[in-house]
Amino acid sequence: MFEQIKENHKERVTIDFEGNLLDVPAGITVAAAVMGYAKQEFIRISPSTGDKRAPFCFMGVCHECLMEIDGKTNQQACIIEVRQGMHIKRQMGPVEVES
């Protein structure tokens, strides 16, 4: 799992990952927060194969990092910065058309 090499961030924010409050550096991406601080080995279950998946490209291309952020499904966690009070959830399978 990811390790923070140097904790030199002065500014920090608190995010809610599936009910757990996490204190993370401001300015990092949601994907980095989930992998590095929530210590998850997967961040979604593929709607088509049922496999556990995790962020792969970290640059907005592969769409492996789709998460529910502040109630919106299929958000690209690797290109969205954490914000104070953000709610983040993993997507366990396909999202519903009618939520």
């Binding site: 088509s48 769409h63 009618e98």
Partner: protein, 381 residues
């Protein structure tokens, strides 16, 4: 001369899309030695860019033989796919038994009603029955299930035999069986020129020169250039179509609408346009917007679903919209249709025996190029 290939095959099928793959599959099952070439076009790709409908209800208005062929093709699809899935181990996501053309507003419904009546009359005149019927909004809501239809939906036509399939998986399955049974498939192989060499055809290709006694033109729009290299006229024209594709969502549509369907992996395909062809096949914002707008009128819940990509491709049409099957020169066959997904079952079943020398089956003999010839006062081309 490519000595690894030349002289080893009875038949060369030029084109490895839906037409080429279905006929090659039938030929290899009949025991022929078949070489299939595909130039892997990045522009046309009708076999990969299509919507995946297995569809008869809208085919052949005014051309009963074409309607009959389409209906027979759909009715024989389960058997065709059953054999393919068993042999290839590929699940093609086939769903048959419900296909709906949806209407928005009263004018569309009235036009659809007229079409259904006309098709029913044409069937009746031939002593047959047209399987589709008009349904109202309430019936349509009932078969759609709990997902609410938009208020503009006025009804539609329902076919109890139509449906859909995953064209990418079916194409893969057909090619796999073809190769497993000893067929040779060369992709990225373009035919540059064709000449006669004695009783054989000599193909100048990017994989070398290939000599073969029989040749099949199954190259879609590529047929135009192939025919011209033999000095033959082409009845093929093209039309552009665009499709929108959404993110994957939990399956909620158990059957296809004509321009809106959910694939096995949860994506929703929204389509499709019919536009004049262009050399550079592009998607356009205006077409995307109008397709999305219509889809939202059909299923307002799609408002929350994101479009993740769109694509455009060129359809393979003929002058009268019906397929072409013909021996256009000695031992040279032209096969072309814009409906190669639906007709795949017929192409695999009916074309090979004829190409291998049997008389043309009655179901396909009205589809030669003779129908395009200008008639003289002797009634001869």
């Amino acid at each position: 001369m490519n000595s690894a290939i030349s002289g080893k095959y009875d038949i060369c099928v030029v084109g490895g899309g839906f037409m080429g793959s279905a006929v090659s599959l039938g030929l290899i099952k009949s025991g022929a030695k078949v070489l299939m070439l595909d130039k892997t076009s990045r522009i046309y790709r009708a076999s990969k860019a299509n919507f995946g409908l297995v569809w008869s209800q809208s085919k052949g208005d005014g051309n009963r033989t074409y309607t009959r062929l389409s209906e027979k093709a759909v009715r024989e699809y389960p058997q065709f796919i059953g054999a393919i899935e068993e042999e290839s181990g590929v699940d093609t996501e086939l769903r048959l038994g419900c296909g709906v053309i949806i209407c928005l507003g009263e004018a569309e419904l009235a036009a659809r009603a007229e079409f259904v009546q006309r098709m029913a009359r044409q069937a009746q005149a031939a002593g047959e029955a047209y399987p589709a019927r008009l349904i109202d909004r309430d019936d349509l809501q009932q078969i759609t299930g709990k997902t609410p239809l938009g208020t503009a939906v006025s009804g539609g036509s329902f076919s109890p035999i139509d449906g859909d399939v995953n064209p990418l998986l079916l194409l893969k399955a057909m090619r796999k069986i073809f190769i497993d049974r000893g067929g040779r498939f060369l992709h990225d192989c373009k035919v540059n020129d064709i000449n006669r060499s004695g009783n054989n055809y000599l193909l100048d290709t990017t994989a070398g020169r290939i000599e073969v006694p029989k040749i099949i033109f199954a190259a879609g729009l590529g047929n135009i250039d192939l025919l011209s290299s033999l000095g033959l006229p082409s009845p093929i024209i093209s039309q552009k179509g665009q499709i929108l594709v959404t993110e994957r969502v939990r399956p909620f549509l158990s059957f296809p609408f004509s321009g809106l369907r959910q694939t096995g992996c949860g994506s929703i395909l929204i389509g499709y346009t019919s536009e004049p062809p262009e050399f550079k096949v592009r998607t356009t914002v205006s077409a995307g917007a109008s397709m999305a707008h219509r889809a939202l009128k059909i299923l307002p819940c799609l408002e929350r679903v994101k479009v993740v990509r769109s694509w455009a491709a060129l359809r393979v049409l003929t002058i009268d919209g019906a397929p072409v099957y013909d021996e256009v020169a000695e031992n040279a066959y032209l096969l072309a249709s814009h409906s190669c997904i639906t007709l795949a079952s017929m192409h695999e079943q009916l074309l090979p025996a004829w190409i291998l020398g049997k008389p043309m089956p009655e179901a396909i003999n009205p589809f030669t190029t003779g129908r395009f010839h200008v008639r003289t006062n002797q009634g001869k081309p």
